[in-house]
């Protein structure tokens, strides 16, 4: 149900609707600023992508190097743990592993 407060609010809203909305001075050159921002975004994305491609050979080289290092530097694998446990010699196996014998 409408009351005095509704009328008062409606009068206020009607007044606000009358408030002229002048063209903002910021509208001047707005297109230029937007397009500059869009180009900037695009360039940033392109730069990121190009850096990713440039760095790809470096990452590949590191992976290959680490793979080769593991193959060359690490000792050959000992008997697999399952067979050692099955034979009941796990304590002796770990002792050898720790002492390096």
């Amino acid at each position: 149900m409408r009351d005095d407060r509704d009328d008062r609010l409606d009068r206020l809203l009607a007044l606000v609707r009358q408030a002229k909305s002048e063209p903002s001075p910021l509208e001047e050159g707005f297109e230029t600023r937007i397009m500059a921002r869009i180009r900037e975004d695009r360039e940033r994305k392109t730069t990121l992508a190009s850096w990713a491609w440039r760095l790809a050979p470096v990452f590949i080289t590191i992976v290959v190097f680490l793979g080769a290092l593991e193959y060359v530097a690490l000792p050959p694998p000992s008997a697999d743990l399952y067979s050692v446990v099955a034979e009941g010699g796990e304590e002796e196996h770990f002792l050898r592993l720790w002492t390096g014998e």
């Binding site: 509704d6 408030a19 937007i34």
Partner: protein, 187 residues
């Protein structure tokens, strides 16, 4: 700006912009910036904020240009983005605005009844200080229905809410607004 694009429809400009022609998008911005500035101006607190919100709206439009299918006019599609961006802005700054002292609103209203013939600018100042105390969805619905004079159906289309939801929110918003302007709390 290339004047050969001037006679093109918005839909054609969108297609050309999608093929990488920046001039076409710049022309779309030129055609619709007034509308976007008006919508942003209803929710922004300052000139620079109008610019920030308007830029955000056009950047979103640019990024989502491929999703424009031409089923509705470009202006409607852009208005939906504008309204949702403004709604997001309201939600983000809800916390800081809630701290506006209630006295700031009531003092102004006590001293000025709309019948006393104060200026539209003064009325806007009073209304703005009351609107910041509403929930973002209430502020959005009041602005679109009462200030932009959209219909319930249009508001539903712009916000993605059901018409029933818009009506309920509008009712709550008016009630809260009346309470605030009478010097009470929003609820």
């Amino acid at each position: 700006m290339d004047s050969s694009h001037d006679a093109w429809t918005d839909e054609r400009l969108v297609r050309v912009a999608l093929s990488g022609d920046d001039e076409a998008f710049a022309l779309l911005v030129h055609r619709h910036k007034r509308k976007v500035f008006t919508i942003a101006g209803r929710f922004a607190r300052s000139g620079p904020e109008v610019e920030d919100i308007s830029q955000e709206i056009f950047i979103k439009a640019y990024r989502g240009l491929a999703q424009f299918r031409g089923e509705a006019p470009f202006e409607h599609w852009l208005s939906r983005i504008a309204v949702r961006t403004c709604y997001d802005t309201l939600r983000k700054r809800r916390k800081e605005e809630r701290d506006v002292p209630l006295e700031m609103v009531t003092e102004r209203m006590d001293a000025n009844d709309p019948e006393d013939g104060f200026s539209p600018e003064r009325a806007r100042e009073i209304l703005d200080s009351a609107l910041v105390r509403l929930k973002p969805e209430e502020r959005l619905v009041v602005t679109l229905l009462e200030l932009e004079e959209k219909t319930v159906r249009e508001v539903a289309g712009l916000t993605g809410w059901s018409e029933g939801n818009v009506k309920v929110r509008a009712h709550r918003a008016r009630k809260a607004l009346k309470n605030i302007l009478e010097g009470g709390d929003a609820r």
